[in-house]
Symmetry: C2
Subunit: 344 residues, 2 copies
Amino acid sequence: MPVTIKDVAKVAGVSPSTVSRVISNHPRISPKTAAKVKRIMIEMGYHPNMVAKSLVSKKSNTLGVILPRPAEELFLNLFFSEFIRGIVTQATRQGYDLLMSSGTTESEEMEAITRFVKGRRVDGVILLSSKKNDPTVKFLREQNFPFILIGRSDEHADVLSVDNDNVQAAYDVTKYLISLGHERIGFVSGPPQLVVSQDRLEGYKKALKESNLPMKSHWIVEGEFLQESGYRAMSMIMNLADRPTALIITDDLVAYGVVRGITELGYQVPDDISLFSFNNISISELTTPPLSSVDIGIYQMGYTASQALLRNIQEDQHDQRRIVIPHRLIIRQSCAKMNSQERS
Amino acid sequence: MPVTIKDVAKVAGVSPSTVSRVISNHPRISPKTAAKVKRIMIEMGYHPNMVAKSLVSKKSNTLGVILPRPAEELFLNLFFSEFIRGIVTQATRQGYDLLMSSGTTESEEMEAITRFVKGRRVDGVILLSSKKNDPTVKFLREQNFPFILIGRSDEHADVLSVDNDNVQAAYDVTKYLISLGHERIGFVSGPPQLVVSQDRLEGYKKALKESNLPMKSHWIVEGEFLQESGYRAMSMIMNLADRPTALIITDDLVAYGVVRGITELGYQVPDDISLFSFNNISISELTTPPLSSVDIGIYQMGYTASQALLRNIQEDQHDQRRIVIPHRLIIRQSCAKMNSQERS
DNA sequence: CTGAAAGCGCTTACAG
DNA sequence: CTGAAAGCGCTTACAG
């Protein structure tokens, strides 16, 4: 039988209300009783029942996250560790825990969110997906429940969210390759329905247009966030008569497949083709040669998401901004300078 | 204002008790009232307050995990994703959620566990660490609270746990290398205070002794679970007059550093030296050449941990077994066969 | 088959 | 400064 406030009160010879006030450091309590009650709490090994506390206070001191379902598992898996760590670190620092569940189907996902929100188990929700037409976003808005979206939502532009400026990031990468003298630049993209894919492609196109460089549709390959995707793309790309001298790749793991494909076809990076990828997960510095990659600040995204959501919860003034996490181009050895005779 | 059982009762013209019984599918309720109440619940958008439910039922339907603190962060980080996914998948399947927190110091860790356990927020705890003299293990035993340990505990042998047979795994790897003709086999180990390091080293020694092969202490290097560790070890190892022809490495990431070191020194894998590592995380198939590695079933460990813990909670018969997850040697291209003239 | 009542362990006006 | 009482939203003997 765990010890309750009542037990402590009895031993201390005070009322339960007084014990409760001591716990919450109520100002109008005599230092003497406070000291006594505190001593007895420790002696008896008292610890408040958070569930009971939560029931009356209507606060859980908990944030909720739903794991992405299988379809996007792979993409998110790579980030997952760093991301969750960022979320938990900041949440813990502010005295919040993290409640997690996963949904295999969309309806299971909705069920989990409902359980969290209507079951009063969390004070706020972090949404990992940025799909079009997401019913969870709709639900949370209807409930007027605090939440933050990772990524961008086109339908719900006025929602609290953290994201990268993926258009700008891809633009920056493209411009960098152009500055090295590349004129034929290809793009190995991710699933076209994802906002992140669309944004990066847009930045790439913008940079090419601005520099008056050609943009051929057969230089753009769409795939999954899988090594295989990159690998397979190469047999096509490398056999092109007008093949690109540089490739932008939407993810490090995909880039790894690209490197493998290129190597197997007997070509060299960066001598035959330059590569620049995204996400800067640990793999990117482990390839031969080490890959240049865009660091999108995954840990910081998680950290910031927690922080912004908690502010919303605590100040109860639902600000609806979009927070942009800065990106950084990490230059390694996968890009070569072009000199003019090679350009033909 | 969320709708409560009382609200539903009022509209349905029954008592709250009846509504409660309908929700829990109590047998002695007329199908007619049941149907009516259910209809009204849906109409009113009723969802039970899990906190209130938890207070009276004394069940939270939640498992707790504490994230490892920084010291071991890196080692566990690599597994983390897969591991948590295994835990969550199985927990969700059985209707449980996962509550997470992290502690930077040992006392913060204890605080988090206490909050979970004494605060009645979880029904069981999964312990990720397998340190010596772990106060959290002691606490949970004293509280007689359901928990499962990942790894092995020497002081607490009679505790529910999931682990690999690391002695056997290292033994198997060593025997495999011996079968290829290697006679000088080195070991790049992890932090010596970790049980996993000790176990693997033991299996390695056992196999060598059994085959009457030499075991020199300068063939054994202890380090961290970091790429740098492996990298640094190589300048020493490769300059040995009697340098090993094969190396067992405690982790894929460390092995990556080893490959880098070997390559920079102008040697080749597996021609100059064979490598076999542990954990089989995604990196291992991405190196050049692809690394042979021991698959220790990380996802399955998480999955099994959830499952065993939940059985303990639900059947309330605290069985205290040690569950061993089988390992598999994944043979790739990093080990060469030795022929006799090379052996000298 | 159903309801009234007590209680889970807390908090917090209200009163003194 | 402190206590008695009501209540958070549920469950569950007990009685009928």
